[in-house]
């Protein structure tokens, strides 16, 4: 029943931005359904409207045409059951880890209660930052900062987690480690995840399904299940059928790269 219920629905969604050089079509006729507790990676070149897809789901913008629904309700404004992790951790530099994680409570309700602090301790431990509660962001590495960003998104216990290239600012080793950590988190407490990335290995490692988008205007050109069971480890990634799958994704992306 869980898999049957729709978490996010895009119906014939188009997005046009007004720019100085005329209208720019970011998304064109996007149809996509993400089931509850599904982990979907959206893969595409820069400027293909991946982030627009995420912001539409978050209710931070409304589509020019078509309709976006979350749990079968049309999205008309930001929702409480959606958490966002950005490309940069974008923490508050003056607040320590604990205050950054509880910031959504302070910002939304104006106060941080004791149950908020308990919840924060929970998510901080979940992302492996126990003992760092009093550190300022500047005292943390890039990977640890993004862990705080993830903890902040998990703090309000959203049903849907929207991640906008969350590991792209990290070095390759940290990036792999964070990927596995995210899988662990997701398996411990399943959520619907929309994971924007331009990294094929990352998409294959993390997702149940990979959506491939073309560059401007952003269209869905492929929607494929990842041929990998769970739990996953590095060895599984080296299996020949997984390698073939990754190669196929690469071909799709290269074919759609505009000739320069």
């Amino acid at each position: 029943m869980a898999l049957a219920s729709h978490a996010i629905d895009f119906r014939a969604v188009g997005q046009v931005f007004a720019t100085e050089s005329g209208p720019l079509t970011a998304l064109d006729d996007v149809n996509l359904t993400i089931a509850q507790h599904e982990f979907v990676a959206v893969l595409g070149p820069s400027g293909c409207g991946k982030s627009t897809l995420l912001r539409l789901s978050a209710g931070l913008m409304l589509p020019t045409t078509g309709q976006v629904s979350v749990f079968r309700q049309p999205v008309t404004r930001p929702r409480d059951d959606v958490g966002i992790v950005f490309q940069q951790a974008t923490l508050l530099p003056w607040a320590n880890v604990l205050d950054n994680v509880t910031f959504p409570a302070k910002h939304k309700r104006g106060r941080v209660g004791s149950e908020d602090r308990e919840r924060a301790a929970e998510v901080i431990a979940a992302v492996g930052l126990k003992g760092f509660e009093k550190r300022l962001p500047a005292e943390l590495s890039g990977g640890m900062q993004q862990r705080v960003g993830i903890a902040r998104a998990l703090f309000l216990n959203p049903d849907i987690l929207l991640m906008d290239e969350p590991f792209s600012a990290l070095d390759a080793l940290t990036r792999d480690a964070m990927g596995f950590e995210l899988l662990k988190l997701w398996q411990a407490s399943p959520k619907t995840v929309m994971f924007i990335t331009h990294s094929i290995p990352e998409a294959v490692l993390l997702a149940d399904r990979v959506i491939v988008m073309s560059a401007r205007p952003g269209r869905i050109i492929a929607d494929m299940a990842v041929p990998l069971g769970r739990p996953r480890d590095e060895r599984a990634l080296r299996a020949p059928e997984v390698q073939d799958f990754a190669a196929h994704l690469r071909e799709l992306l290269i074919a759609k790269e505009p000739a320069s």
């Binding site: 404004r77 966002i84 508050l92 003056w94 910002h107």
Partner: protein, 281 residues
């Protein structure tokens, strides 16, 4: 000690006894931030003193540092403190008024493109008016008590504040604004909990510029109309041809500006250490 380090460095046999990472003299001087400028200042003072004596420069052209020190004695300490207090009071009140006025203006400019389009050019026009030229008009309009002097100080001090505050309020990462919107938090909290704290480094650079400008503003106002204050004292002294004591007044003004500037820097270090680059915390 430095000499022995130099000789040891030259002799290869002395290498094992040499301290690891011993730096050349020039770099060690750079590492001591106060020594070098004080040394430069002392050298300039000595050159100044000797040249005024050797070339017998008259004190109304350039008084020797020792004559300037004598100039401090021309007036009683009670009179000095009256002058200092008058200037300091006008500078500080004008400064505080400038802060109080520029903050809401900056918030308006940062939040609304309409307001920014409508008012920014006007602010630039106001800033382009030479305050020294308007000062006599303001004095006539507002009378001769503190009010016109505060207004003149305010006019000189407020523009850098508006610019730095507006820039700072717009420097917030757009993701944090999106986070705020996604939480559907009240609008004012976006200002108080995100934009304003983010603007702190910018605000303080404006505060540092403006605090020295406020002293200039107070002095300009005193030049035009005052019977007390360091600006008045300098003008009065020069009109009486007592140049060493005018120079003494100038030294007091420089000291006042420096102390105010350092006070603002200290406030930033004490209350907002995170807003400073790491090595200056």
């Amino acid at each position: 000690m430095s000499a022995s380090a130099e000789t040891q460095a030259k002799s290869p046999r002395a290498e094992p006894t040499r301290k690891p990472f011993s730096l050349p003299l020039s770099e060690r001087m750079i590492a001591m931030p106060l020594v070098l400028p004080l040394l430069t200042f002392a050298v300039i003072l000595v050159l100044w003193e000797t040249s005024t004596r050797v070339f017998s420069i008259p004190s109304f052209i350039l008084p020797a540092p020792t004559r300037i020190i004598e100039g401090f004695g021309a007036v009683t300490p009670a009179r000095w403190s009256a002058h200092v207090w008058a200037t300091l009071r006008v500078a500080l009140i004008g400064y505080l008024v400038a802060i109080a006025v520029s903050l809401p203006i900056a918030i308006g400019l940062a939040k609304s493109r309409l307001l920014s389009r409508a008012f920014y050019p006007l602010l630039v026009v106001i800033q382009s008016v030479p305050v020294v030229a308007v000062a006599p008009i303001i004095i006539v309009v507002l009378g001769t008590d503190d009010a016109p002097r505060v207004v003149i100080t305010f006019m000189i001090a407020f523009f850098p504040l508006v610019v730095s505050m507006t820039t700072g309020l717009m420097a917030t990462p757009p993701e944090l604004i999106e986070l705020s919107r996604s939480l559907r938090a009240p609008q004012y909290r976006e200002i108080t909990q995100i934009r304003l704290p983010y603007a702190i480094p910018y605000i303080f650079s404006g505060l540092k510029i403006s605090v020295t400008l406020a002293v200039i503003g107070a002095v300009v106002a005193e030049f035009v109309a005052a019977d007390v204050g360091i600006g008045f004292f300098i003008q009065f002294s020069t009109s009486m041809f007592r140049l060493p004591q005018a120079w003494a007044g100038l030294v007091v003004l420089v000291a006042m500006s420096l102390i105010l500037f350092q006070a603002v820097s200290l406030a930033q270090r004490l209350f907002f250490p995170w807003s400073l680059p790491r090595e200056r915390r």
